[in-house]
């Protein structure tokens, strides 16, 4: 009996502080958000007004801006997940091989990942406007005279370009780590059996790094669905609301229009959305993982 209590105490001593910290800084605010999502509150009034499900019905029935943000976010997510993972995997395979200066190259690809996203947004904003102007002066190539941030469709591509460029480094690291634990003997066995580079990659390497793919796709999926920073500083959702993501729409609802209750309702919805998407993605990908 006594031994059991002391074991329990040791267990508690290690877990309770972390548990309490997470409870206070994550779970309680989250539950409060859920509560606020049923209220009409401008963030300043001392007493929020309880209005039941009205915020949620407004999202679905009467908010075309939110629906546009939703569709923009889905389109961005679709392209971002495919492009980031495809390019990162390709680069990882190249950089895992025997090429000169591969450490330097790895560092170069990783650097954008350690710069603050807001700063990256401002740097690219400068490149797209003033930088491209100078390129045009030098080359007279019409591509630099296009309005990369001022035209709705162009801005879609520009935002995609910057976010993919920025995030590749992180996924590159995951894939390189995955490639390095692929056992050499399996590869060698396949070479003896006469497998060429292509079938070696698709039949041996790819199935074996499936755990890395699961992780990388999971992260890129959830990060794309909540993307905010780059767009905030690059286009601020513009022109018009052409590049407004759900996260930016939530920010504007809460902090610009001062509708905190409505904003939290949207964020609860975003949470459920990400939960559902990533749940199915992980489930689907996990089933394809194999062990060597």
């Amino acid at each position: 009996m006594k031994k059991k209590t002391s074991r329990f105490l040791v267990f508690a001593a290690f877990t309770v502080p972390a548990f309490a910290a997470i409870l206070v800084s994550v779970e309680v605010p989250f539950l409060m958000s859920v509560l606020y999502s049923f209220t009409k509150w401008n963030g300043l009034d001392r007493v929020p007004l309880f209005i039941g499900m009205a915020n949620y019905t407004e999202i679905f029935l009467d908010d075309p801006d939110m629906m546009r943000a939703l569709s923009f976010t889905f389109q961005q997510t679709f392209f971002r997940v495919i492009l980031t993972n495809a390019i990162a995997l390709l680069l990882a395979v190249l950089l895992d091989g025997e090429i000169r200066g591969k450490n330097a190259l790895r560092a170069i690809f990783y650097i954008p990942n350690i710069i603050s996203l807001i700063v990256i947004g401002y740097i690219w904003r400068f490149i797209f406007s003033k930088g491209f102007d100078s390129f045009y002066e030098m080359t007279k190539a019409p591509i630099f005279m296009l309005s990369w941030l001022g035209d709705g469709d162009m801005a879609f591509g520009s935002v995609l370009l910057v976010s993919v460029w920025q995030s590749i480094g992180f996924y590159l690291v995951i894939y390189i780590a995955g490639l390095q634990i692929v056992p050499r003997d399996v590869i060698e066995a396949s070479m003896i059996d006469g497998a060429g580079p292509h079938s070696r990659f698709y039949k041996i390497t790819l199935p074996l790094i499936m755990p890395s793919v699961t992780v990388a796709v999971f992260h890129s999926l959830s990060n794309s669905l909540k993307s905010f920073d780059v767009i905030f500083s690059l286009t601020n959702g513009g022109p018009g609301i052409a590049t407004t993501t759900i996260a930016l729409d939530i920010y504007k609802t809460a902090f610009v229009v001062s509708r905190f209750g409505y904003g939290t309702a949207k964020s609860v919805l975003l949470f459920l959305l990400i939960l559902a998407f990533t749940f199915f993605q992980v489930k689907m990908f996990k089933s394809r993982e194999i062990e060597a």
Partner: protein
């Protein structure tokens, strides 16, 4: 079990000492007064610091100023929410009067209020109560580069839309870009747009209060405001002569382009002059009235005090905050601070005119009886400026035509007005 209890006791004691330390610190701070201020307009950081040093030297009171810009409102809101209300903070006038009604001190009976121009107090007075201190008197309209105008031979300044287009054509023919649009900034677009509507609101809609009340209760819709056509005409004109990438021009592009004479005209306010002079100290600039259609008599400038200093009514340093405002209004340094150091117009009665070309041009235009319109769009519910700015940006980027833009403006406005009630 005993151990469990002693563990809990130790834990509680450990926490208690931490809390106690916090309480002690607070008590120690009480003695020399430190006022917490939260301001925006980081371009005035140097002037803020200068004032803080002067106040410290004269009274020994420390002013601790936090200066933010883009996320100012969100930080202020979170501070107020968490109970950490700054003693003094800055907001807009008009609609913000009701937004911050629970927190702003009613200074109607403070003696220093009588030293302020009544026109500057309009935007902060609700039902006879003065609940804010007008910080600066500002104006916005079209700023033009005098040298470019002289070089291309424009002698008569444009007052109507047609004249502005004729001027733009002349400038373009000389190989100079007529406008830097500023369309990328959410606030430049609406400022440009509302100025073109201002005279019509007085003439055809019974004044600003009635116009805004109509929009708020839904009896008036933008799509039924026929004068919105002249707003779109003006935006189209600026876009047409606004260079190859009109939707990417921001504040920095506007100020640097006009300073160097790369463009001839921008829509901006007197606050832009400091930034323009940083690029070119000797820039020779002036003010054009904002055309509202082709009615030359109605073309004026937007002239008001919008930036408002508010005192937290439940703050423990309320007295010290009021003493500081009194000093700002009555002391030698305070009276000279805005015209002399910030170089903008002061709301204090009898203060000196600032040494600034745009401020002088403002005074001159108003002296010549050009209309000075209040910033009536600040009466729209909080947040409307940015939302409608985004809608207008969509129009300028060619995403919506005029009818769809008006519908989107009505939809956005209705939503915000409904939420604000």
């Amino acid at each position: 079990m005993k151990r469990a209890i002693s563990f809990l006791v130790v834990l509680t004691l450990a926490c208690a000492s931490v809390f106690a330390a916090g309480a002690k610190e607070e008590a120690a701070e009480q003695k020399p007064v430190t006022l917490n201020l939260m301001f925006y307009s980081p371009e005035l950081q140097e002037q803020y610091n200068d004032m803080v040093a002067a106040y410290k030297a004269e009274t020994g009171v420390t002013l601790d100023i936090t200066v933010l810009q883009a996320d100012y409102r969100s930080v202020l809101t979170s501070k107020i929410n968490s109970g950490d209300i700054p003693d003094v903070f800055m907001t807009s006038a008009y609609a913000d009067n009701s937004t911050y009604k629970d927190y702003a001190y009613d200074m109607s009976n403070e003696p220093f209020v009588k030293q302020l121009q009544p026109s500057a107090l309009q935007g902060v007075t609700v039902a006879g109560k003065v609940i804010g201190y007008p910080f600066l008197v500002q104006s916005h309209s079209f700023i033009y580069n005098k040298k470019v105008f002289a070089d291309v031979g424009i002698t008569e300044l444009p007052k109507t839309l047609d004249q502005l287009e004729a001027a733009a054509k002349k400038i373009e023919a000389a190989g100079i870009q007529p406008f830097a649009t500023g369309f990328k900034e959410f606030w430049v677009l609406p400022q440009t747009a509302w100025q073109a509507l201002a005279p019509a609101v007085v003439k055809n809609y019974g004044g600003y209060a009635k116009f805004v009340a109509g929009l708020n209760d839904g009896s008036l819709k933008f799509k039924n405001v026929s004068e919105m056509a002249q707003v779109f005409d003006l935006l189209d004109l600026i876009k047409k002569y606004g260079g190859p990438k009109p939707n990417e021009s921001d504040f920095n592009d506007q100020t640097s382009s006009i300073a160097t004479g790369k463009v001839a005209i921008i829509h901006q306010g007197n606050w832009a002059e400091g930034t323009i002079r940083k690029t070119n100290e000797a820039a020779d600039i002036g003010y054009l009235v904002g055309p509202a259609g082709n009615d030359a008599a109605g073309a004026g400038i937007m002239f008001d005090s919008n930036q408002t200093i508010r005192v937290a009514k439940d703050g423990k340093n309320l007295k010290a905050a009021l003493a500081w405002l009194n000093w700002l209004t009555t002391s030698e340094y305070g009276k000279n601070w805005i015209p002399g150091k910030i170089k903008q117009m002061s709301p204090i009665i009898g203060s000196d005119a600032p040494d600034s070309q745009i401020a002088k041009a403002t005074a001159k235009l108003l002296g010549e009886k050009a209309p000075g319109y209040p910033w009536f769009y600040q009466m729209f519910p909080t947040g409307t400026e940015q939302q409608l700015g985004a809608v207008l940006q969509g129009y300028c980027a060619g995403q919506t035509d005029r009818a769809a833009t008006l519908d989107a403006m009505d939809a956005a406005y209705t939503k915000i007005a409904k939420a604000a009630n």
